[in-house]
Symmetry: C2
Subunit: 353 residues, 2 copies
């Protein structure tokens, strides 16, 4: 792997412990180009502009996918990734559905390790902060024919991330707009899914909600996801989450929380959840918690969940009683090397460069 180091680090101008999410991009990026049917040599270089024209095919035809992952520092300045093979696998699932070439494990994982190693000073030390990592692949041929691109660029960039402030959210159960459909691309992290969700989210914001819960495309009665998170519901002492499917992204946080919950003897049911189920549980006083989960926020609890004119108010459970708070702490402690790792999920970034 070729490595072209930056002359002067931007770290004299950026405080990684005080950076809004995704705004300050770290010194280096990894770039690897697919051309003539094969991947070239990955290169680590200073982050910055490339010579793309507005005819870049990714912009016109949306062959563009990404991943979202994080690097964490423990109190001894060791740097860890979390289950990176999962992101690698999901990335290639997205690639296949978008008719893009698969990336090799070598380029993805070794590239990642070298890049994070080189920019390890960008990993924040402050509790709850982390280095957000953005692998992406996009069609980089430049022409106008609506067809599969012949060239692609794989890139990894990183950016220090504050811990999101996870105040309990007001949520609207979406009953018209659709995020994903059977036979569509909902299970992938492709660019088009996100742009399509902004307008419905904006409408929900304007109506006083922070975020939406997406429902099935046919009847808008079954929970799918929430914003860019998977969704979990606690009824009584059972934790429910919809099974992943071709309309639900297979979240790594979701999978980790399910595993941690079961490990801690919490009953988990991966089953469809309908609006009716929620109503009934609410009326009988059994609806305890609803929350979203994903890499960016880990867990975000919901205080109000509305379906049309009916607003359900959820109790704000304290540390001792909330599954959400318990599971979040378990997961974050594991990620930041504060606890044992019974599942083998931590992945140390060795100091080599």
């Amino acid at each position: 792997m070729e490595i072209n180091k930056i002359q002067h680090s931007k770290l004299d101008k950026v405080d990684p412990n005080n950076s809004a999410f995704g705004v300050n991009i770290s010194d280096h990026m990894l770039i690897c180009v697919f051309k003539d049917g094969k991947w070239g040599e990955p290169v680590i270089m200073p982050y910055g502009g490339m010579n793309y024209s507005p005819a870049l095919m990714a912009i016109h035809y949306g062959q563009a996918i990404f991943e979202g992952m994080k690097a964490y520092k423990d109190s001894n300045d060791n740097v860890f990734l979390f289950r990176p093979e999962k992101n690698f696998e999901r990335f290639n699932k997205s690639a296949e559905r978008l008719a893009m070439p698969k990336i090799t494990k070598e380029i993805f994982l070794d590239g990642l390790l070298s890049l994070i190693d080189l920019d390890r000073n960008w990993v924040p030390t402050k509790e709850g902060n982390s280095l957000y990592i953005r692998p992406t692949m996009f069609a980089s041929e430049e022409m106008f024919s609506a067809r599969i691109s012949n060239e692609y660029t794989f890139a990894i960039m990183t950016s220090p991330a504050n811990s999101y402030y996870d105040k309990p959210l007001k949520i609207k159960i979406e009953d018209y707009y659709t995020r994903a459909v059977d036979g569509g691309v909902g299970f992938t992290k492709c660019a088009g899914n996100y742009g399509a969700s902004f307008y419905p989210t904006k409408l929900a914001n304007e109506a006083g909600y922070d975020q939406v819960i997406w429902t099935d495309s046919k009847e808008h009665l079954y929970f799918e996801e929430s914003g860019t998170m998977n969704v979990m519901v606690r009824i009584g002492d059972v934790l429910y989450t919809p099974p992943t499917s071709n309309t639900i992204l297979s979240g790594i946080t979701r999978d980790s929380l399910v595993t941690i919950a079961k490990h801690n003897k919490i009953e988990v049911k991966e089953e469809r959840i309908s609006v009716d189920d929620i109503f009934n549980a609410y009326k009988s006083g059994n609806l305890k918690e609803i929350f979203g989960c994903g890499t960016a926020v880990v867990i975000n609890r919901y205080s109000h969940v509305a379906y049309r004119d009916f607003i359900m108010e959820l109790p704000e459970l304290d540390e001792k009683n909330s599954f959400a708070i318990f599971l979040k702490k378990q997961l974050v402690d594991l990620q930041t090397n504060k606890s044992e790792d019974p599942f083998g999920w931590r992945y140390k970034v060795e100091k080599k460069l």
Copy 2:
């Protein structure tokens, strides 16, 4: 409008009458940037690379839309656009659904006219050829937060286009993959719709078909579109096409053909068309023609249409008997100033620059 002309035209290396679709991009492009809540001054400049980094938000979150239109030359070297206000209106409909700012008529239309005027030597003269025009708008802020971008770039590029060879196609009626869904973005020309359609199309190609007919997302029984075209079916002497909806792009070719057909006393019904309707017509010998229509090819006739294992073979009607051939000639003659323009659709590009 600022105009920075190219030093040496690429026309000494490119023959506009012999250019594969969308490959050779003309000398100039128009660029206009939206920032701080407003559009800046449009600039015409030499086509080429910009300084975008791989963190370009359009690549990550798919806020990216486009239009496809053409300029035509008549035998006196006059250059014409075709119903450009329709593309302008549709562009802004796409923009709204993708939570992007609307473009002004001035920037879109005046920009278009100046650009085509300046690059008028790129408009091919050969029969059936034209200058393809690609207006596009995309999120051009560079950061990783999954939210509506604050900056956008509007660009217009052009490229000489051969007439597509319109040999009759073999078509698969798609019964699993979905192009569009109620509450989704199917009615827009956003990037994500195209990338999502490439894989199903590739599978159809591998099974021996040229293209697919997209059906409704719920039952996969009703015709919606075909590839990147609207679809028309002739049963007996009646022309059917599904009404445009929030899952069907409102094609300008479709609208023009419907108008021309009615003007020529052909009965047109804008009604849902089911696979059953097609089967029944086929069995009774009344299924005469199925074709796709869009700016790129104008009309593409289908010779074979398959639903699962059942393949319908369509007769190849000659010039005298085919609605498709008749309508295509009517439309192209109007576009290229070979016939009267009873509808006021031609739009002359005056020589000013």
